[in-house]
């Protein structure tokens, strides 16, 4: 039969021979094969550098010579950073004495930023996804408009908000000052600058949330809504019983990565003119320490790993509280 012959001919072709070989693999072996490229990339480009960076964090800084690190000190760097004894840090990482105002402590600023921005971005993202999902004329342009902020480079986003809140150029700080919300120099006051940075971030990254939520919504089989409607579900109930559970995996991915990203906030702080001095974040400490002319690599590596551990704690909490396995409700 024609089909049969064709298949046999294919058998001689090396490409299809490889494909055939792959097809014979057990599910498990096949899974590992498919994961191989990703892990090859992740291993060389991410895990291996991390390992090297980690090694650096076990040595002392050397600021006064050609070599960048000094003798092996083990976990000394970690202890110093965590107990605020590393003089190279411009801000306390964790100040348990309560002496440093809230918005000047890297950890607190980072956490506060993550919580506030993720909450608002999720809510706004839902709203945006909702209006992007409805059918009406001009929807495509509404979609583009909503996604556009995400397309703005962080430098410009920073400049934009810097200017908007700049007392001489923009016009946002005057009214806010008038009602007493802002001081005269919003960008130099940690609290005000924190608000500005957060607003700027929400403006830009809600689109990220919205896109993922929208994609989740669009993947739902419409007939389920029919069923729910016939069963008497109000719009809210349809959302609650169908939309929400079915976009939950996508929503989780969005929130997970937004939280991680928010906890690594750096760019907008610098770009908006607030600066790491005013709104210190964990990543600020890493970048300042690593890339200043001081080149305190060991301290920087230490802070990077501490930052990652803190993020891991938060994300771990996420997974536990929401009773998620990392693969979530993928089954």
């Amino acid at each position: 039969m024609a089909t049969e012959q064709r298949q046999q001919q294919q058998g001689w072709n090396p490409v299809s021979r490889v494909l055939n070989w792959m097809e014979q693999l057990s599910e498990e072996a096949y899974a590992y094969l498919l994961l191989a490229p990703a892990f090859l990339v992740l291993f060389t480009i991410a895990l291996w550098p991390l390992w090297r960076t980690f090694r650096v964090s076990l040595f002392a800084d050397n600021l006064f010579g050609a070599a960048k690190t000094g003798e092996f000190v083990g976990l000394q760097n970690y202890i110093e950073v965590l107990t605020n004894q590393n003089p190279l840090l411009s801000r306390p990482l964790i100040d348990l004495t309560g002496g440093t105002p809230f918005f000047r402590q890297a950890l607190l600023v980072t956490l506060a930023f993550a919580v506030i921005s993720v909450v608002f971005e999720t809510l706004i993202g839902f709203g945006q996804a909702y209006i992007m999902s409805k059918e009406y004329r001009g929807r495509r342009w509404v979609r583009v408009a909503i996604i556009l902020p995400w397309a703005i480079p962080i430098v410009i986003q920073g400049m934009l908000f810097f200017l908007l809140f700049n007392p001489s150029v923009g016009f946002l700080s005057d009214p806010l000052q008038a009602i007493g919300l802002f001081g005269s120099n919003p960008l130099t006051s940690s609290t005000n600058a924190f608000v500005i940075v957060t607003v700027a971030d929400i403006w830009k990254t809600s689109a990220f949330m919205a896109l993922l939520i929208l994609a989740g919504m669009q993947s739902i089989d419409k007939s389920l809504y029919d069923v729910a409607e016939v069963a008497g579900a109000s719009p809210w109930q349809r959302f609650r019983h169908i939309t929400l559970p079915l976009i939950f995996p996508a929503l989780m991915v969005a929130m997970l990565f937004r939280t991680i990203d928010a906890m690594r906030i750096y760019g907008i702080i610098e770009a908006s003119g607030a600066g790491c001095g005013t709104v210190p974040s964990l990543s600020c400490l890493v970048v300042d320490t690593m890339f200043g002319v001081t080149q305190a690599y060991a301290s920087a590596a230490t802070i990077a790993f501490i930052t990652a551990s803190i993020i891991a704690l938060v994300i771990g909490g996420y997974l536990v509280v929401l009773k998620l396995s990392p693969e979530g409700s993928y089954q």
Binding site: Y32, L35, A38, P49, T53, G127, V142, R143, Y330
Partner: protein
């Protein structure tokens, strides 16, 4: 409703259009709903677009009047900044560089993450959880944590497992390779989520028809996950296009050395003086390719891709 009586009509006239509307809205709650919906749409459009509008006003302002304050209209009117941005630096080259990075990275990430997403989303194997967690953990680290070893690797100062790669510094490879790794976890998670939601029945059907498992992925699962794939693509593309850390440090500052668009934009900033109008104009120009991409890609984010497929 549709045929108001004479008295009602005269009533209407005396009460004015607003109360007319309110009246008909009470009779037809859908109208209220529609109106509210449009209010929401306008609200979101306003909040997202206003800053961009204002950015345009800055671009159109006279360069030395920006600091006087720019309101709803430009301070002075000087559209020449849109020309000047190309005169001062080869902006188009910077645009091209970023575009190349973004395109290459997006394609690479989507392919590799698709394979991984398929494995994580649709296959059962030992160690799935651990591996997925590993992927996630990579994104916990500030990008700076990867930078120095990669930098040394790409400048051929150190070897990886005894291998010295070609010098990738100041080539697209020096940007695309690390960014691929950095944006891969997100793409893997997104694709895993969406691929896992495609009903098994459709993959089964494709395999019966004669595709391999991989063939089913590309012919059925990916097309049906179009919203997810398009989203992962848009997110990756834009993120790389605007990425600053690696694309800045792994390349030179000149357009000829593969400097990214952001490098171009900040070069309008001199030590003590910032040409806001030029930066604004350049970023508006830079956003155009992305906007076009979004216009195209969002068509893929359409609903009902799986309707009519299965009886179950």
């Amino acid at each position: 409703m549709s045929q108001p009586t004479g008295t009602e009509r005269s009533d209407d006239e005396t009460r004015g259009p607003l109360s007319n509307w309110v009246d008909s809205a009470i009779k037809n709650p859908k109208k209220v709903y529609r109106a509210m919906f449009y209010v929401v749409v306008i609200f979101f459009l306003f909040t997202t677009l206003f800053p961009l509008y204002w950015l345009t006003m800055i671009a159109l302002s006279n360069s030395n009047r920006v600091s006087e304050g720019v309101g709803l209209l430009p301070a002075g009117f000087d559209p020449s900044s849109f020309v000047e941005i190309f005169q001062q630096i080869p902006l188009h080259l910077y645009l091209f560089n970023s575009f190349v990075f973004a395109t290459l990275t997006t394609i690479f990430v989507l392919i590799v993450a698709s394979l991984a997403g398929y494995a994580f989303g649709r296959l059962e194997f030992r160690g799935k959880r651990t591996l997925l967690l590993t992927v996630l953990i990579i994104s916990f680290f500030p990008p700076a944590a990867f930078f120095i070893p990669l930098f040394q690797l790409f400048t051929q100062q150190i070897a990886f497992l005894g291998l010295t790669p070609p010098e990738l510094y100041s080539t697209p490879g020096g940007v695309v390779v690390p960014l691929s790794a950095i944006f891969m976890p997100l793409a893997i998670f997104i694709l895993t989520t969406f691929y896992s939601q495609i009903p098994d029945g459709l993959e089964d059907a494709a395999r019966i028809e004669g595709t391999t498992r991989l063939g089913a992925l590309f012919r059925v699962i990916i097309p049906l996950s179009a919203p997810g794939v398009a989203t992962a693509g848009i997110l990756t593309f834009i993120a790389v296009y605007n990425e600053f850390f690696f694309s800045f440090l792994m390349t030179g500052t000149a357009a000829q050395d593969w400097a990214p668009i952001v490098d171009g934009i900040i070069s309008y900033q001199s030590q003590f003086q910032v040409r806001y109008d030029l930066m604004a104009a350049a970023s508006i120009v830079a956003v155009v390719p992305v906007a076009i991409l979004v216009v195209v890609a969002q068509e893929k984010i359409v609903s009902g891709l799986t309707s009519g497929a299965l009886k179950e």
